[in-house]
């Protein structure tokens, strides 16, 4: 994660996200990375921090998103991953838990629910005929209910679960999750499900980078116009 720091799947995602947006992504830079991430998928179907670890929502998102960027999603067992993540939506609360047998947490609205657009895309690319053309494979309304009814702080901001205090991290990821739950697809194939009043509608977010899709396009275009730095420049 930083020099002398921890090594886990998050850094692979950070590196892949930055490299792809700034147009410095080369096969050499990520040689072996995709295979290493695939080894982080375990018997539960989800992905852990490093090979051997327990499956965890945050790490799973980072792993899958990194593989999407590297175009190597097929290295994973997508079926067991789908089974694991869909099992993480809580039937009573509507929100998601980070790991089996743990409590619901607003931030997993993004880390977990955000996996479904990625999986949808990967399965679609494989020619899966059973995929919906209107909905993600999780209960979008139930998630929105959890976020809107349980995760808002009356003074503004969002949080983990009722009783917790607000913070920027939870505000960011509850809102990101809400955006995912409200918007299916993109472009021509775009379906919206907005719970409550129309004012609840958020702008869509890019499922890989979690920034506005237009911003992703802008960033990519911008860096494409820059000269790519040679290796010597990285002194």
């Amino acid at each position: 994660m930083h020099i002398g720091g921890e090594v886990d799947v998050r850094s692979a995602y950070c590196a892949a996200a930055v490299a792809s947006l700034t147009n410095v992504l080369t096969p050499a830079l990520f040689a072996g990375t995709a295979e290493w991430i695939a080894r982080c998928q375990n018997w539960e179907g989800g992905i852990g921090g490093v090979p051997g670890m327990e499956a965890h929502g945050g790490y799973t998102f980072c792993g899958v998103a990194a593989l999407v960027i590297l175009k190597k999603e097929h290295l994973l067992n997508l079926r067991s991953l789908l089974h694991w993540v869909t099992g993480r939506q809580m039937r009573f609360e509507g929100g998601f838990q980070g790991r089996c047998n743990k409590l619901v947490d607003g931030c997993y609205s993004f880390w977990q629910a955000g996996l479904l657009p990625l999986l949808h895309r990967a399965l679609h690319a494989r020619g899966d005929a059973a995929l919906s053309m209107a909905r993600w494979m999780f209960d979008q309304s139930a998630l929105q209910e959890y976020i809107l009814l349980c995760c808002q702080c009356p003074a503004g901001g969002l949080l983990d679960k009722p009783g917790k205090s607000r913070d920027f991290y939870h505000t960011c990821y509850c809102l990101s999750g809400l955006a995912i739950a409200q918007h299916f697809g993109s472009g021509d194939l775009h379906h919206e499900v907005v719970l409550g009043v129309p004012e609840n509608r958020l702008q869509p977010t890019h499922p890989v980078y979690n920034i506005a899709p237009e911003k992703v396009v802008k960033a990519v275009m911008h860096f494409l116009q820059q000269p790519v730095p040679g290796l010597e420049a990285a002194g």
Binding site: G5, Q41, W43, E44, G52, M53, E54, N77, N101
Partner: protein, 379 residues
């Protein structure tokens, strides 16, 4: 052996806020808002080269800081420098970390630093002339064993202080992989010593995941090439060279079959444990998950071997684990799998649960497990 904060919003008496009772250190809360910024500032000034601190002062200041906030990476890094320069005994940091974890059992930076320290100690240990930094003059193997045991204790304590403590259990796995070298002995010891703990923490998914890790590592260890038995028995603290493994290969072949039988026994015991706990504590998803997976492992098919192989936890490179694949499936199939915990028993167990349970969640898990059994065994 433990630290804590004593809620005490005002300094009523003119006395030190430090309280030491029966080897437990308490700090009255009122002083933290003075103490923490003071030491924090001192350290930052040192780092910015605006104010010098000698090594004793550095040790004291970082120690104080880390007991108040162990996620302060800079403080740990200062101690890394002190260790590397030889002025600080790495064992002290293990002790400091252990203390910090009594109050902050999740602290990521504490666990990360701990792994760095252990790596330093392992490297030291593998040098031909080992420098005794305050260690007792024990043999290298004994030292490693003690380190591993201590880490297991620290992890266990931290796991008890916070439910499903991901960082503690991850660290435990890391220690077995990198310090314990996943020897059969250490895996079996851990299987025994964690059995009681998981029975007392039936919703702790991390605890049960750890047992899956142990069982899978055992499967990997005993069903892989003969090479691995050499490593187990010699408990070699150095990374065995490829040459050494090849030398030992022929001699250990007879041992493989006896380990195979044991694996079935451990898996069967695990299923028994699951069954008991599921009966005793209805409605815990973790127990069903664990049961699923254990059953899965006792009846491997080519499809599941892929997953088992993908779970290669001992860090071998990709090509060697893929080579092990076909040998692994062949040996698993040859091993005498007892029918006593076969499908019939599982169906009977599930049906019994369904007919007698009153817990809604338990019924749901049992139904799902039954469906899964049908589809899995139908293959």
């Amino acid at each position: 052996d433990e630290i804590g904060l004593i809620p005490c919003p005002e300094a009523r008496y003119n006395r030190s806020p430090i309280v030491l009772v029966e080897n437990k250190l308490g700090v009255e809360s009122w002083c933290v808002k003075f103490l923490l910024p003071y030491v924090h500032n001192k350290l930052l000034l040192y780092r910015q080269r605006k104010q010098w601190l000698n090594k004793d002062e550095l040790i004291d200041i970082t120690c104080t800081l880390l007991l108040l906030n162990p996620d302060f990476t800079t403080a740990w890094n200062v101690r890394k420098e002190l260790i590397l320069s030889g002025t600080l005994n790495p064992l002290k940091d293990l002790h400091l970390g252990k203390l910090a974890l009594t109050k902050f059992p999740k602290s990521p930076e504490t666990w990360i630093h701990r792994r760095w320290v252990l790596q330093q100690l392992i490297q030291e240990n593998s040098l031909p002339t080992v420098v005794n930094k305050g260690n007792l003059g024990a043999a290298p193997v004994e030292r490693i064993h003690r380190l591993v045991q201590e880490e297991m204790n620290v992890c266990s304590e931290a796991a008890g202080r916070y439910p499903s403590n991901y960082n503690a259990w991850s660290h435990r796995i890391w220690v077995l992989q990198h310090v314990g070298k996943l020897t059969v002995k250490v895996l079996l010891d851990e299987l025994t010593s964690t059995k009681y703990w998981v029975s007392m923490h039936v919703s702790d998914h991390s605890g049960f995941h750890y047992r899956q890790f142990l069982l899978k590592s055992l499967i990997g260890r005993t069903v892989n090439d003969d090479n691995t038995l050499v490593r187990n028995q010699m408990v070699n603290e150095q990374n065995p060279s490829l040459q050494k493994e090849e030398e030992g290969q022929g001699a250990e072949a007879p041992g493989v079959e006896e380990w195979n039988v044991d694996i079935s026994r451990y898996l069967e015991e695990e299923l028994d444990l699951c069954t008991d706990l599921i009966d005793t504590y209805p409605g815990h998803e973790t127990l069903w998950c664990h049961s699923d997976e254990t059953f899965h492992n006792s009846h491997p098919s080519p499809a599941t071997s892929h997953m088992a192989q993908a779970m290669d936890v001992d860090g071998l490179n990709e090509s060697s684990s893929k080579q092990g694949y076909t040998q692994e499936t062949k040996r698993l199939k040859r091993a005498p799998m007892q029918d006593s915990f076969g499908p019939e028993m599982e169906y009977r167990f599930v049906d019994k649960v369904l007919s007698t349970c009153r817990d809604v969640d338990q019924a749901r898990f049992a139904t799902a497990y039954r469906k899964w059994l049908v589809s899995f065994l139908g293959q």
